[in-house]
Amino acid sequence: MKNNKVIHALYTDDDVLMAAVKVVKAENHYIEEVYTPFPVHGLDKAIGLEPTRIAIASFMYGCVGLTVAVLMMNYIMIEDWPQNIGGKPSFSFMENLPAFVPIMFELTVFFAAHLMVITFYLRSRMWPFKGAENPDPRTTDDHFLVEIPINENEKELKSLLTKTGAVELHVIEKNDN
């Protein structure tokens, strides 16, 4: 049978939180999640999260944007309706390339930026009308919450977390699924 009991430890300072996370990791406890009101520098490394791969996704989105721009400009300006703008030759993509570069640049940035943001939201499981996941609303204000699963070591964990400066401890039965 799986134990769904977790402990929520609340902190009021990001430096104290960082020190606590390091102590908890050093004692070989698994940290399920940390909720913070703002990004805490270095916390991802302290918890042991894998580095993000969003940069790779962004690069691929940028390539898509560049391709879309090239195909679009070629279709609009060369194939479908060649236009004479400033006396530039309108029948060759390459000869007109300098005029298209700003559009290629803009669409590359546009695709990379927007799709990266959307990817980030989806990957964080945030979409419209999604209910908040954070267990305590104070984590959007001035509190930091560390969630640690309990494996018949409740007492030990509690004394450890109190020592690290937690201001509140709650044991909670998680009933997801």
Binding site: K88, P89, P98
Partner: protein, 452 residues
């Protein structure tokens, strides 16, 4: 503390000697050329390439702006008549005479520009009170030590070469040229020399005092930051002076080679080039000293930041290059567009090759965050960037002086060897003069612990 090793001394002296002899031999041989030699050479070229050359003129796929130039070209070089042929040969003879001067000038400017770019970077670090970079200050100070000799050499070559580089210094040309006459209140030799001396004086004074305060800060009491504050003040003042003087310097020393042509963002363009080359050299020398175990206080994150700058300024350079190109290409005004026509027609490989070397290669190689921390990646990208920016200077100077008679051969390579030897000698001599860690800088602890 770095000690100037005997091997490095021998290497740089050897570079200087090889470069100097190579350059002098090409200089003397180009001066022995006579009009007759050139005429026979041109006749030979005509029999070899004549057919190709004519047919390429009739190709319909050329763009309009190239067409425009060809009409021009047809009039100037293919007009019939014996008189015109001999004046063409004379023109080619001049171009071939100019080549050793131009080759020397390109290399001298390239190494001077590295030093000037680093001086601006160094000034920015002080003015912004950057916390990450103080561990690199001694490397920057060493590179800027070359600025005074380097800039004097560039100005000296410009004055000595005279009309071989700057046609506006030739009174016969000016007499028949209304456009240059109109600019003669700015483009005259006396005022050119005075401006050059003022700029060199300003840059060198800043470099002298900043280095002096930097060393004095090391030796002063831990609670006394007065020298750092002085450095902050003179750096802020220098940056104002720098951006004006650098811009005017780029018009004087490069843009006036084509005295009819002008571009309003030329100063920025040259600045981007010198900035990225300078930062690259900081990274390369730091990596070299780190592999010797002399700069263990420099960590991955410092290299990462330098590589970020190399990446970012490469993109900035490409942005400025394209901004300058596209506006002139679009407007297609004859006196502006000739600048790019000569480069696209006669310098196709270096002109477009440098875009690959200076933009596409560093863009793709240094994009990944992890690669920016790998020394051999930085070295590889750095070598390519430096070569690319040498080509950039080459493309700015050669078309105005030697036209289509260019090649990267003995005079060019010798000049690069000569100045690289001098640069190495001066920079590493300066490195050996002070401890590599500026221990008195108030940000030194933050800088040592800097991490990303």
């Amino acid at each position: 503390m770095y000690k100037l090793s005997k091997r490095l001394k021998i290497l740089s002296l050897a570079l200087i000697i090889i470069g100097a002899t190579g350059w002098f031999s090409s200089y003397t041989s180009s001066h022995h050329l006579t009009l007759e030699d050139v005429k026979t050479m041109l006749a030979e070229e005509d029999t070899h390439h004549g057919g190709d050359h004519l047919s390429s003129h009739n190709e319909s796929s050329h763009s309009e702006m190239i067409q425009l130039h060809q009409d021009d070209h047809d009039v100037s070089s293919h007009a019939k008549g014996e008189h015109h042929k001999s004046s063409h040969a004379e023109h080619v003879l001049h171009q071939m005479h100019n080549r050793p001067y131009a080759a020397l000038y390109v290399a001298a400017f390239f190494f001077m520009m590295i030093s000037l770019g680093v001086l601006a970077f160094y000034g920015i670090q002080y003015a912004s009170q950057a916390g990450w970079s103080p561990v690199l200050f001694r490397v920057m100070e060493a590179i800027t030590y070359y600025l005074l000799p380097g800039a004097i050499i560039v100005l000296g070559i410009a004055i000595w070469a005279d009309k071989h580089l700057f046609i506006w210094m030739d009174p016969h040309v000016v007499a028949h040229d209304e456009l240059i006459q109109g600019k003669s209140s700015w483009l005259n030799k006396k005022w050119f020399i005075i401006r050059g001396i003022l700029f060199i004086l300003g840059w060198s004074m800043y470099r002298f005092f900043s280095r002096k305060f930097s060393i004095a800060q090391d030796n002063s009491d831990i609670n006394d930051n007065s020298y750092f504050k002085k450095n902050f003040k003179i750096s802020a003042a220098f940056l104002v002076f720098y951006i004006y003087s650098e811009s005017v310097m780029s018009w004087d020393w490069i843009m006036s080679l084509d005295p009819h042509w002008f571009s309003t963002l030329f100063g920025w363009y040259v600045f981007a080039s010198m900035f990225v080359s300078g930062i690259t050299v900081i990274a390369l020398i730091t990596i070299y000293l780190k592999t010797k175990g002399l700069m263990d206080f420099v960590n991955d994150s410092h290299l990462h930041d330098l590589a970020k700058f190399m990446f970012g300024i490469s993109v900035f350079w490409a942005y400025l290059w394209f901004s300058q190109f596209m506006l002139i290409w679009y407007a297609n005004i004859p006196e502006e567009v000739t600048y790019f026509i000569t480069r696209i027609e006669d310098y196709k490989l270096p002109f477009f090759g440098m875009l690959v070397l200076n933009f596409i290669f560093p863009f793709l190689v240094l994009m990944n965050s992890d690669y920016k921390r790998v020394p051999w990646f930085i070295v590889m990208a750095g070598v390519v960037i430096l070569f690319g920016h040498y080509l950039d200077v080459f493309n700015m100077i050669m078309p105005a002086t030697v036209g289509d008679r260019w090649f990267i051969g003995v005079p060019e390579l010798s000049a690069v060897l000569l100045f690289s030897g001098l640069f190495l000698l001066v920079v590493f001599y300066s490195l050996s003069k002070a401890p590599l860690l500026p221990k008195g800088n108030p940000f030194i602890k933050e800088s040592k612990q800097f991490h990303y």
